[in-house]
Symmetry: C2
Subunit: 356 residues, 2 copies
DNA sequence: TGAAAAGATGTAATCGATTACACAAGTCGA
DNA sequence: TCGACTTGTGTAATCGATTACATCTTTTCA
């Protein structure tokens, strides 16, 4: 297929620099890694040679010899979801501080792509993995676990393995969402779900049901629509909602995107929000504050989540784990905005920002 | 700092597999790379040994020996912008098809982070680079260019170098946006800009001014607000807009996010869109269809852009470039939705989807 | 001043794969 | 049955850095 393989114009090795500087390769290496282990004079000569030759160390060779890459792999289920961009920012900040690099693997919602990234790490291209893929742990993760690869789960419940987890309190937050709706007088609820089998969805749904139970409501007092954490799920759920004879008045969506999809669709059908129906989202993405009415939602501490995940992984890589690092659970904040209001035939609104 | 370095439980090398199978390492390597170059019997014996030992090749060693990584680096200015998630999807599709992997480098809007990623590639951790950073080419890119590293610019105008570019027709599309507004009777315009010095911003602004000129308007017939491609820029621009005595009626924002920020702010101030002011965005992100009113915008062929960029880079890596690959320019589509309408004191609306 | 300690540098082994080359075994036609 | 050819496998060099150890130089201090 290929006519001629592409070749670098100049390919400078450490040996070339050594020759140019009149020293051994060991010295060049030392100048670059431990400048204080060589004489100042030598240092300057070598650095000059480095500059003149335009030398850049071949990190593949270095990684082979040192047996580490100073790189961490982050597996993201879907980059199009703005939630992950925020988390990645937190991860990156923490890693950079410690001299580590970051490689992002995007699953694009296809679990079939997972092995590709798992291999990347197994084949020593990364020193550790941050898994944000909320799947039930399968063969892939098991292999990594057996291979002893440092790894942190950034979604609930994989934690029952020997894998530490850094997560948000999905369950408690979902309960709070229900409590919020019930507090406004809503007695008939709707739940716009995430992907069935997803660990995070499982937590949020569990919290929702817990809230329902605590309100003294039962299985028949709510409707559940399956889907994913995307706009179109909200649209589909709303369409189903609109076909109901006895419609819920309080909706909890497991993601902001689906909440927004729902919102748009019911408004297009002529319903008023929050007068006819109240909606609570989950995530706290920036966009939720730019729609009309602004979305009541549970804000995740995304940046902090990223930082904590990276911090725990680094500890694991360095063999510095402490017992309390094995399970970190961060609280969320309820942003009480304009898509929630009293149930039809009720009164005013409470405060604005409340910790869960 | 670190108490004890973490160590893998079992570290299986190709030599271990060879011993287990009773063959040489060369044979194991061949079984894995060219299964048809070995006897079936041998193949089975080796594969069994691979399975039993749980061997995964060390790709760092392989990369060193073969002098390639089968990996491409993509430098993204800001992952939080949904535009890039879409482009990445296209890139990934194309690369996967050719057996290449993808590493994402996020600049997070800090140009200072660029050298980190440039080094990544210079140090042979990637076989090529896709640059989406719309900066004027600086030292970083020059080094890569000199090192002969295959690289494709996915933003306008770096193309005057020896670097191929795959871009959208920003300038033509912006002209079209102005033409659209002018066609609706708007004679006083506003331009919500991207970052000054950014190549893409330059193109879009040039197109805007070209459109203005073609409409027979002059420098005093429009206002320009500086900013970046984010929500808050739109908010700030709208605040400035609201303070004007003689307000424009047709606004062109260089990104959907800033258009949405603008929209929200002017509506909050009591203006009606499009009755009082029309707004055109640029990008065609999914969100733009979920706000109210839905945003008129120029839709980029994001997936296609990604595929083309990757395709050209692969050609470059393989030394298969043809003259027409050096400059690819993709057309956009004007999505005529609900934020644009006749200038105050004019009539109806034209068609819905128009190629630029 | 001289012996021991500390400091600077060089030599060569090493990381774990791939692959050119050599060689052995098997196949074929005359 | 013999060489020519094909096929399969092993030996060892190689990719480009790092680093243990040896060696040589300088400093320190009794």
């Amino acid at each position: 297929m290929s006519r001629k393989r592409w070749r670098s114009v100049k390919e400078i090795r450490i040996a070339d620099v050594a020759r140019l500087a009149g020293v051994s390769t060991a010295t060049v290496s030392r100048v670059l890694a431990n400048p204080d282990k060589v004489r100042t004079k030598t240092h300057d000569v070598v650095m000059e040679a480095v500059r003149r030759s335009g030398y850049t160390p071949n990190s593949v060779a270095r990684n082979l010899r040192t047996r580490r890459t100073m790189t961490v792999l982050v597996v993201v289920p879907n980059l199009a979801n703005p939630v992950f961009a925020q988390i990645l920012r937190g991860i990156d900040d923490e890693l950079t501080q410690s001299g580590y690099g970051l490689v992002i693997g995007n699953l694009d919602n296809c679990l079939e792509r997972e092995p590709r990234y798992v291999d990347l790490a197994l084949s020593r291209q990364a020193d550790g993995i941050l898994l944000m893929n909320g799947r039930i742990p399968g063969d892939g993760t098991r292999h990594m676990d057996e291979a002893g690869l440092p790894m942190v789960a950034m979604c609930a419940a994989i934690s029952d393995e020997r894998i530490p987890s850094v997560v948000v309190q999905d369950r408690e937050a979902s309960r709070e969402a229900v409590r919020h709706l019930v507090g406004l007088g809503h007695r008939r609820l709707g739940y716009v779900a995430g992907p069935t089998g997803n660990v995070i969805e499982g937590e949020r749904y569990a919290g929702f049901r817990q809230g329902v139970a605590e309100a003294g409501l039962g299985e028949r007092d709510f409707v559940r629509w399956e889907g994913r954490f995307v706009f179109s799920t909200g649209v589909a759920a709303a369409e189903a909602f609109l076909r109901l004879k006895d419609r819920p008045t309080g909706i909890f969506a497991a993601s902001d995107e689906s909440a927004i999809g729902f919102l748009k669709t019911v408004r297009a059908a002529g319903l008023r929000v929050p007068e006819d129906v109240s909606i609570v989202g989950f995530d706290g993405i920036e966009f939720a504050d730019y729609i009309e009415p602004t979305l009541t939602t549970l804000q995740q501490p995304l940046h902090e989540l990223g930082r904590m995940g990276a911090r725990v992984l680094l500890k694991m890589i360095r063999g510095e784990m402490k017992p309390e690092d094995w399970s970190v659970r961060l609280p969320l904040t309820l942003l009480d905005r304009d898509t929630t209001g009293p149930a039809p035939g009720r009164a005013a609104k409470p405060l604005r920002r409340r910790a869960v």
